[in-house]
């Protein structure tokens, strides 16, 4: 236990992934779902950097991948928050269950 191995980080990543999924599954607030997505993305990043560190040091591919993920996450969050605000403008709530105007 005293030596931190790759698996330690991967398990942290797995926990982040599962909690993120759980958040996505159980929140009705649109921004709550977004928060879940951010957790999932972070779990991916932890895995990428851990692999980069332990399996391919000095190749930096994992770190750069993680960098791109961060960029994409920021972009995605900006757009998603914009969409949430528009949703709020249109249906006066961010409860995704009440956005049902396309439902048959």
């Amino acid at each position: 236990m005293a030596t931190i191995s790759l698996n330690h980080y991967l398990i942290v990543g797995a926990v982040l992934f599962c909690t993120g999924l759980f958040t996505m599954m159980t929140k009705r607030n649109a921004i709550g779902i977004l928060i879940g997505v951010e957790l999932v993305l972070n779990s991916v990043n932890v895995n990428l950097i851990a692999f980069d560190r332990y399996l391919g040091p000095n190749r930096m591919d994992g770190q750069l991948m993680a960098l791109f993920v961060i960029v994409l996450a920021a972009a995605e969050a900006a757009l998603a928050v914009g969409i949430c605000i528009n949703l709020y403008k249109n249906v006066a709530t961010v409860d995704v269950d009440r956005a049902t105007s396309l439902r048959g």
């Binding site: 999924l21 996505m24 599954m25 159980t26 779902i33 692999f51 399996l55 439902r103």
Partner: protein
């Protein structure tokens, strides 16, 4: 000087107009009327001009020919990207031609920018309540950026990009008065016509890319020469089109771009219409710089041309120069007249390149830029002064109202007519450049023995001399001119030619291999030379006609005459350009171009011509022609004055006498009409035919099918459907409704349910695979794949 000093300065000079463009785009309307213009003058052209002057001085007087060659050789190339295995490099093509062209463009453009401030200040140019003043200068700045970028591009890809950018600027500026229908139509015409040429250019570009494997000008030339020597690559193909090899097709394709941009014979129709733009634009873009870009392009890719391609180029140039010069005789619109003269002169340049008179053609390009820009500015002054009257028949006698314009115009007329004193070195720009083209054409037509043997011999001699007798740059380039006109000793001519001897030596090694491919360099058909010679007589005629109708004689329209005036700001550029016409071309440009010729024309087709071997044959031809053409302007001037001396009666009589010819010329050989019939009407006809087929054939088939279907449906609906099928269908429908009700409950429309389902399934699959794979020990081992 620093290692990449010149490149940095030239690149900065390109970027400066871009800065000006962005400033004017974003802050232009705020800057207001004169400020926006002066911004463009200072940032858009003043800075590049200063840099160009700096470069020119350091390049020409600060370096000797050896260090210049070294600088050209070691020019900086930025590795920008890769397309497949072909690296795309970005850099500055640094040689004397670039420097000369750059200086010419910035110098001419600077004064035109200054002129534009005066020209545009008088216009009420509001559209939708917004002034277009700053937009005009923004376009001009963008044009300056693109044009300078085109000049310095070392790579065909970037050259093409800037090529399209100048096309865009041309489009924007022709259609500057887009609220007028003719202007926007002219803009579209120019754009579309240019696309036709650019299509060919693209084909050429692709062939260069595919066959030569590089887009860098120098590398492409080297590869081309190597392939020509070994008969491999583009020369090994058994492709043939009109008897042309693939290499010729490539050259012709590249030339197609130049045809569009420089308005050569079949694609020339856009240039006269382009005069719909503001006059400074006509001066800058459609006379001095952009249209010359085609010539510049051909000069740049000269090393990729085969003899066949060059013959094609010469043919096109010859047709253009003759036909357009004839049209110019009958034009009554002052700008159109100048436009046709521009076309004719461009034809001269292209013809010169086709003959192999590389130096002479580019020299003509430079001199022409000066005097044609000045002529257009003069016409702008006249048009502006006469309240936008362009019809020369209503002018006349304006010399009293606008003397400076009159006499600067006259300097331009002299220059374009090639005025000079035969047998001496006294003369104006056209006197040297045009005659030199004719001289080379003469040699190609009359003294060419299809093998070019004498040239090799002279090249050897030059080489032998060159190793012992290096000649400084300044001396050598002024020599051929003096030699031709002043009758210098033959040995000196050799010494001059020798300055380019390194190159002869360079290509001399694979002489025999080259001979196998370029075994026969055809002589020029004699009629081409005769046409060019004939046009040399026509040119002064129509120019004199134009000048005389405008400025001399008696005023023909009282109203126009009364209002005519000169603008003070506007004749400063006129005066400067007039002085430039008198001086710069003679003292500067020819030596510069001759210096560049060494490397730039190292084509497999080593013509024993021009800069390489400006030898006895051409010298003699030149001397001989000097007397043949040198007096042309006097004869033509006298003819024009004789006809137009007494107003319009004499010309009217002649017109009636030659009515059919006049009709052809006035309708510009019916090109627009033919194009209209073939392309526009053809398209419409095709559409009509298609419509007929659609309405009468396709539709009727469908109608018949529909009718038949109706019948069958009536039968089946009444008998089969109601009794037999409905029962089955209803049963199926009922059961599917029940099933759908069951399925529908899972389709909740809620995101998290979907997440739950998807993740649940994924989890199950994951666990399944993992548990199944766990029994197999190897499957669980994941290699990182180092």
């Amino acid at each position: 000087m620093g290692e990449h000093f010149y490149e940095i300065l030239l690149a900065l000079g390109v970027l400066s107009p871009m800065v000006s463009f962005w400033i004017l785009v974003f802050a232009g309307p705020k800057l207001g009327k004169p400020t926006a213009g002066w911004t463009a003058v200072v940032l858009g052209m003043g800075v590049p001009l200063a840099l160009a002057t700096w470069v020119l001085i350091s390049w020409w007087w600060g370096e000797d020919s050896v260090s210049r060659a070294a600088l050209t050789e070691n020019a900086f190339r930025f590795h920008w990207a890769d397309i497949g295995s072909v690296p795309i490099t970005l850099g500055v093509k640094l040689d004397s031609l670039t420097v000369a062209m750059y200086f010419m463009v910035t110098f001419v453009a600077f004064w035109i920018f200054v002129f534009s401030i005066g020209y545009m200040s008088g216009h009420s140019d509001e559209v939708d309540g917004q002034s277009k003043y700053s937009r005009f200068f923004a376009y001009l700045s963008l044009f300056a950026f693109s044009m300078l970028g085109l000049v310095i591009s070392s790579n065909l890809l970037f050259l093409f990009i800037f090529w399209e950018l100048v096309g865009l600027c041309s489009y924007l500026l022709i259609g500057f008065y887009f609220d007028k229908a003719y202007a926007s139509a002219a803009a579209i015409k120019a754009f579309v016509t240019n696309r036709v040429g650019d299509f060919g250019f693209l084909i050429g570009l692709m062939l260069v890319f595919y066959q030569l494997g590089t887009l860098d000008l120098d590398q492409a030339a080297a590869v081309f020469a190597e392939q020509a020597a070994t008969g491999s690559g583009i020369f090994s193909s058994d492709f043939s089109l009109f008897g042309w090899s693939l290499a010729t097709v490539m050259g012709v394709g590249l030339f197609c771009g130049a045809m569009g941009k420089s308005a050569q014979f079949p694609l020339h129709v856009w240039l006269p219409d382009a005069m719909a733009g503001p006059t400074p634009v006509s001066a800058l873009i459609h006379a001095a710089t952009m249209v010359a870009a085609g010539v510049y392009l051909v000069a740049r890719v000269f090393r990729l041309m085969t003899p066949d391609a060059l013959m094609f180029i010469a043919l096109i140039g010859c047709l253009t120069l003759t036909l357009m010069a004839l049209v110019a005789i009958v034009q009554v619109d002052i700008k159109k007249c100048l436009a046709y003269s521009t076309l004719s002169q461009l034809g001269y340049m292209i013809f010169g390149l086709g003959c192999g008179a590389w130096i002479a053609a580019l020299f003509h390009l430079m001199t022409h830029a000066f005097f044609k820009a000045m002529l257009f500015l003069c016409s702008g002054q006249v048009i502006e002064g006469c309240h936008h009257e362009q019809d020369m028949r209503k002018m006349g006698g304006l010399r009293k109202k606008m003397p400076v314009t009159c006499w600067t115009f006259f300097v331009g007329v002299l220059a374009i007519s090639g005025a000079g004193i035969a047998g001496t070195t006294i003369g104006l720009g056209g006197f040297f450049s045009k005659d030199e083209i004719l001289a080379v054409a003469y040699v190609r037509a009359f003294e060419w023995d299809d093998a070019g043997k004498h040239e090799v011999h002279d090249g050897d001699a030059a080489h032998a001399l060159g190793s012992t007798h290096p000649v400084t740059g300044v001396r050598l380039v002024s020599d051929p001119v003096q030699n031709a006109h002043g009758g210098f000793a033959r040995a000196e001519a050799r010494g001059a030619a020798n300055a380019h001897g390194e190159d002869t030596q360079h290509v001399g090694h694979d002489d025999s291999a080259r001979a196998s491919i370029f075994g026969t360099i055809p002589a020029l058909p004699k009629w081409m030379f005769y046409l060019a010679l004939f046009t040399a007589y026509v040119t002064p005629f129509y120019m004199m006609r134009c000048w005389w109708m405008t400025f001399m004689g008696k005023p023909r329209d009282e109203n126009v005459y009364r209002h005519a005036h000169e603008s003070k700001l506007m004749y400063v550029p006129l005066a400067v350009l007039a002085v430039g016409t008198l001086l710069a071309s003679y003292f500067l440009f020819r030596p510069l171009i001759a210096d560049a010729a060494t490397a730039a024309t190292a084509a497999p087709l080593v013509l024993a011509l021009d800069g390489h071997e400006h030898t006895a044959a051409i010298g003699a031809a030149h001397r001989f022609l000097t007397f043949g053409v040198g007096g042309a302007f006097i004869i033509a001037f006298l003819a024009a004055i004789a006809i137009y001396r007494r107003g319009l009666e004499t010309p009217e009589r002649i017109r009636r006498a030659l009515a059919p010819l006049h009709l052809v010329l006035v309708h510009k050989y019916f090109f627009d009409e033919v194009y209209d019939v073939i392309w526009v009407k053809g398209c419409l006809l095709l559409a009509k035919v298609a419509r007929f087929i659609d309405t009468w054939i396709v539709d009727s088939i469908f109608d018949m099918l529909a009718a038949a279907t109706e019948r069958i449906a009536a039968f089946s609906g009444l008998i089969l459907d109601k009794h037999g099928v409905d029962g089955v269908v209803n049963g199926v429908a009922r059961s599917s409704t029940d099933f759908a009700g069951f399925i529908r409950r899972w389709q909740t429309g809620r995101i998290r349910h979907y997440v739950i389902f998807a993740t649940g399934v994924a989890t199950v699959v994951f666990l399944w695979i993992w548990l199944a794979g766990a029994s197999n020990a190897d499957a669980a081992v994941v290699s990182a794949g180092m």
